[in-house]
Amino acid sequence: MTPSVLTAKNPEFMRHVWLELSLHRMIGLPIIIGLLCLMVWYMDNGPNDFSGVSKMVMLIAPWFIVWGSHLASESLLGEVRGQTWHAQRMSALSPWQLVWGKLLGSTLFTWYGVIWCLLIYLSVSSEAWPLRAALALFVVLAGLLLQALTLLFSLRSINRMGLSGRNQSFPYVILVLLMLAPWFVGALANINTPALWNGMEIPKTIFINASALLFLAWALLGLYRLMRVELQMRQGFIVWLVFELFLMVYMAGFFVDVAFLNLHDPWSVTLAIAFLLAVTIAYLMFFLEDTTALDIKRGLIALRAANGKELVQLIPCWLVSLALALLVLPFFLISSQLLELANSVFFLLSLLLFAVRDFILLLWVRFRPHFKPSNRVAMVVYLTCSYSILPAIFFAANTQEWLALFLLPLPEQAYPLIQWPILLLEIGAAYWLLLRRWQQVSDVS
């Protein structure tokens, strides 16, 4: 589709075309890229050596993409800052129009730069054509994924905090990107060795492009759903559930060929990974969703009114993840031959009890009448101390057996008869605290 067709279909995209594309920018950018290429070509070894040029454009393209991520995030946060977001929410633009209008519209100029870089790379690279095309495709898919993720996190912050939600998601996404960078570099360096997934050897170029495409599709679906929420449209949790199931299968695929928690049966490994993933995602989503006492109250009102449609859309994703962990557990118990692998089973059950205790305590902090961002830091500190600093001290003191009782479940030290009563007591105490706070915050003037 040409830009004119796109603008006809989407006013939001059209607005960005008005703002982003000007004749001097359209002419100036290729000239600058061309001059840089010329400079590097002169510095290369002879007129037929384009290796420097192809490396340079493949370094510039990610820079354009990162810049585009910032613009994608700003396309939303800028609306909030500029107080135009309400007007957009009041329009008849569909959630999907808003999503792709912002995602492609705000990054239009940076993609113009990326396209120039990729065209030059495809023309001068010395790699074989299939690899050249696969790498170019990866740049496009990974770029779109990164930009979709920054927009997604910006939208999430607005969803949660309304017009005060001006959190810049861009730096966090870049931080995650930097953390993942070594893995990417490693994968690209060994591009010719196949990827091992679910017992299958898959050519790495196909695997990384397929993965990027799948995650891009999920990111776009996530954006669409969050945009629906912003436009006051109803939303259930089924898609989230399906996403988690996808993630479980995808992640387990990397572990089925290696021993994991003393498990060797692929099904047990898959289910153990699924369980751990569900619990981990529940923790992450708790912080991302930021469930407040008012959300719970809204849910209770819907429950009392037997308003199932309202109730379904109020169920937080972290609760869905926790419920999924609970659902996965019996399957794991059956598949892992309970008696032989008692330790692993006890370990996962203990982990679940630890998680329940943590969530009750986290809610207790979150329900503070005058909750401040610093309280969120306190929650992170609590989790960090519980699961990293204090365990490290116990390990250093060689007293791991105490660790397993209060702070961190360990696979090799599962003592259900001692551990579980203590944990149940902790859960009871935490629940009592939460109830008291609930009574405090549910009183209104």
């Binding site: 607005r15 500029g82 957009q88 006051q232 449209m233 209104v444």
Partner: protein, 307 residues
Amino acid sequence: MMQVRNVCFEYPQLRALNQVSLDIRKGTITALVGPNGAGKSTLLRILAVLTRPFSGSVKINACDVFLNPREAHRNIGFLPDFFGLYDSLTVKQCLTYFALAHGLPRLQVSAAVTRASDLLQLTDRMMQEAGSLSRGLRQRLAIAQAIVHQPQFLLLDEPASGLDPEARHSLADVFLRLKKEGVTLLVSSHILSELDAYCDDMIVLRQGKIVDHQHNTLQNHAQLWLALELLTPSATARQDAINQIKLIANTGAIHETKTGVRFLFDDDAHKRQQLLRTLIAHEVPVLSFYEYQSSLQDAYLATQETP
């Protein structure tokens, strides 16, 4: 017709709206008044389908807006108290964007833009960037954006705040023109004097509750108010006057003014004569006694005295 039933909304430890129910009559201008923190802006955001209430329903022409929010948005225009414009776009681009964003067919966009710009008297500014407009013109452009799709309802939150008297006057003209075009307006404002110029109905919101909803407010109150000015408006003299007024008429609304008192009174000449005679007989120092042209402010203040 917009129907609101039993709407509740809460902020942490504060019930912002408590069982709010009201009907907005078609083709009227309704003033939404109340002190700061009464819940006016929250109510407007709920009516604009931008915030979901905890409970209750909002219906436009018998259709629940929260079941089909995008359809509702086609029928509603909203100008929030703090609004922004796309400063880098021209007035024409702004209006064209919103006409398209509101789903108008391309062939109708140009006519809709012309109509909105004519109505808001922006025709000679079409090629000017929004960022370079004055406060009053920005306000007009924001309203033009909100009505470019010809909504049935226009909700305005403090539309006159920050405007000079001339711009306020021109805004009143705009509202009357919109009403003439068949648009139903709900205007929230603190400046009650300006609402006099155009409002038909008045809703008073206090501590999240509707304490009064008056139809044809000005007509109802214009004939009923009397003013009594005292030669020596001391507290004792005022109290004497109030006592006598209360004896003659069972009025709920008596306001003390700088020079005397102002009160609601039956439209009965004999009773009025009897009151004057009684006041003089009781040596209340009457300086003047006349019919007072009631304002929306009086109507609002009267609601404060209603238990």
